[in-house]
């Protein structure tokens, strides 16, 4: 069985500045992986590189199929949903329009209404705000909307860039519960970038530690919690 996602010697540039210097890792189907690293290590850039949003070189394979040279919209159409840094909400559109757009690339339009209801089931707050302009939602509501929008694709791989950013601890716990449920129920693979390393390590099966554009440590989450370097830098004890 081939890996859900495989990156091989992935390099990325902004203009002339190289930010990733050969990132390699792989994720098993249906697994949750987390990408940890200091600010500026290249976590966001790695997610961008995986779905063709920056200039890259190297290999990216999704279920064995090479997606390295593909346009972002085609990668999305293969079932890769990305909740980007800054959420990427369509601020002038309503909550419900944002959700409809999340399912835009799906072949089956008839399932959309049902899936929107399913998202309202996960995030009842969004239902109350369904006709409201997304730009007027609170930060936390917008974060829920961004995740729900990504799930509307019924992705096989979900890329999440700091989903807990700016959220109250209770809400963070709720969102991580939902991620766990979605992963278990719908077999969605999740690649999570997260500042809250303790939470991420609890959720994830695998951990990749990124340092200035390179993966320096990779391993099972269970063993990482006991890794001294990880503990000191990211868990704070």
């Amino acid at each position: 069985m081939s890996a859900l996602l495989e990156a091989g010697q992935l390099e990325a540039w902004y203009g002339a500045t190289q930010v990733l210097h050969g990132v390699s890792f792989s994720m098993a189907p249906g697994s949750i992986a987390t990408l940890l690293g200091a600010n500026g290590a290249g976590k966001t850039t790695t997610l961008r590189a995986l779905c063709g949003m920056v200039r890259t070189r190297g290999a990216v394979r999704l279920d064995g199929q090479s997606i390295a040279a593909m346009a972002t919209e085609d990668i999305v159409r293969l079932g890769v949903a990305h909740v980007p840094d800054g959420r990427g909400t369509f601020l002038d559109l309503t909550t419900e329009e944002n959700l409809r757009l999340g399912g835009y690339a799906r072949g089956n339009r008839r399932e959309l209404a049902g899936d929107i209801e399913r998202m309202y089931g996960y995030f009842p707050r969004l239902k109350e705000r369904r006709a409201q302009q997304a730009g007027t939602l609170s930060g936390g509501e917008q974060q829920m909307l961004a995740i729900a929008r990504a799930l509307m694709l019924r992705p096989r791989l979900l890329l999440l860039d700091e989903p807990s950013f700016g959220l109250a601890p209770l809400l963070v716990a709720a969102i991580f519960d939902i991620l766990r449920t979605i992963n278990a129920r719908e077999k969605v693979g999740i690649l999570l970038v997260e500042q809250n390393a303790a939470l991420a390590l609890e959720l994830a099966d695998q951990v990749f530690l990124l340092e200035t554009g390179r993966i320096v440590i990779a391993g099972a989450a269970a063993t990482m919690r006991d890794n001294d370097a990880v503990r000191r830098s990211y868990l704070g004890y």
Partner: protein, 290 residues
């Protein structure tokens, strides 16, 4: 009083034309943040295509529909072939290309169809509707056509997924790609729609001003004023601005400054809006986060 009502009504008729062209400008502006100076010339050229078909004996509405379709294709092709390759380069390059397009369409029309002024038929009856003596049936018909076009565009953008995708792509192209929207194609589609709307405006104005290669020059200026007055990022504002500018132009021309200076109204409006309220009457004032 009678004369006043007549001026207002005929202002609404030309205002409808300005509204259509302004809407075409706004559609392209929203998708690309560029003002297409060649919009009017493209409309003029399409009106010549309609004229050619009518001359060849096509029934009016068949020629009308075929012209809209051709205009749409023309818009898409221009975006694909000319605009897209220069897309990310400087504003100056884009402006030069727009002016180039303007000149090309103008001289192409002059070369193929000559600069002699041609009459263009109206599909509406010659005798005034409902026995009114204020406005011709063509005037009423043109307003009707404008309103139908607006209603159709509204329904398209509001109720279809493609319309939603186009709005999304115009607002936030990066996020649009992340939900799988082919942003390049939605832009081309926007150009096609704008060209189609423009061609309708051309066919509606040609019976009144007669068809010649410079038919749209003044109209584009008024439409630009309308788009600015209404707010260049607001389709409804552009439409309202169109009607407003049409009426204002007529009233000022009749009672204040005389017809010779009418075109200055457009310029004064453009400069006035840019100085006093750049977002327009109905435009959103964007507050930039600092």
């Amino acid at each position: 009083m009678d004369a006043f009502i007549a001026q207002v009504l005929s202002g609404l008729v030309t205002g409808g034309i300005y509204a259509s062209v302004a809407l075409a400008l706004v559609m392209i502006y929203q998708a690309t943040h560029l003002v297409n100076f060649a919009q009017g010339e493209l409309a003029m050229f399409c009106t010549y295509l309609a004229w050619t078909m009518l001359d060849a004996g096509f029934p009016y509405w068949a020629a009308f529909a075929a012209t809209i379709a051709l205009a749409f294709v023309c818009g898409v092709v221009i975006e694909r072939v000319v605009i897209r390759p220069i897309g990310e380069s400087s504003v100056l390059a884009v402006v030069v290309v727009f002016i180039g397009l303007l000149v090309i369409f103008n001289s192409l029309a002059g070369w193929i169809f000559t600069y002699t002024v041609k009459p263009f038929p109206s599909p509406f009856p010659a005798e005034p509707l409902f026995g009114n003596h204020y406005v011709s049936s063509h005037g009423i018909g043109a307003i009707g056509v404008t309103l139908v076009v607006l209603a159709l565009l509204y329904a398209f953008f509001r109720f279809t997924s493609l319309g939603l995708a186009m709005r999304a792509a115009a607002q936030n192209p990066v996020s649009a790609r992340l939900v799988g929207i082919r942003v390049g194609w939605t832009r081309a589609l926007g150009w096609g729609l704008a060209a189609a709307v423009g061609s309708i405006a051309g066919m509606m104005v040609a019976p009144t001003v007669y068809l010649d290669p410079n038919m749209m020059a003044g109209i584009l200026l008024y439409a630009f004023a309308a788009a600015l007055v209404g707010g260049i990022d607001n389709p409804w504002g552009a439409v309202a601005g169109g009607f407003l500018v049409g009426v204002l132009e007529n009233l000022l021309g009749a009672y204040v400054i005389g017809t010779e200076l009418k075109l200055t109204v457009a310029l004064v409006l453009i400069v006035g809006v840019l100085v006093i309220r750049p977002s327009g009457l109905f435009g959103r004032v964007t507050v930039k986060r600092v």
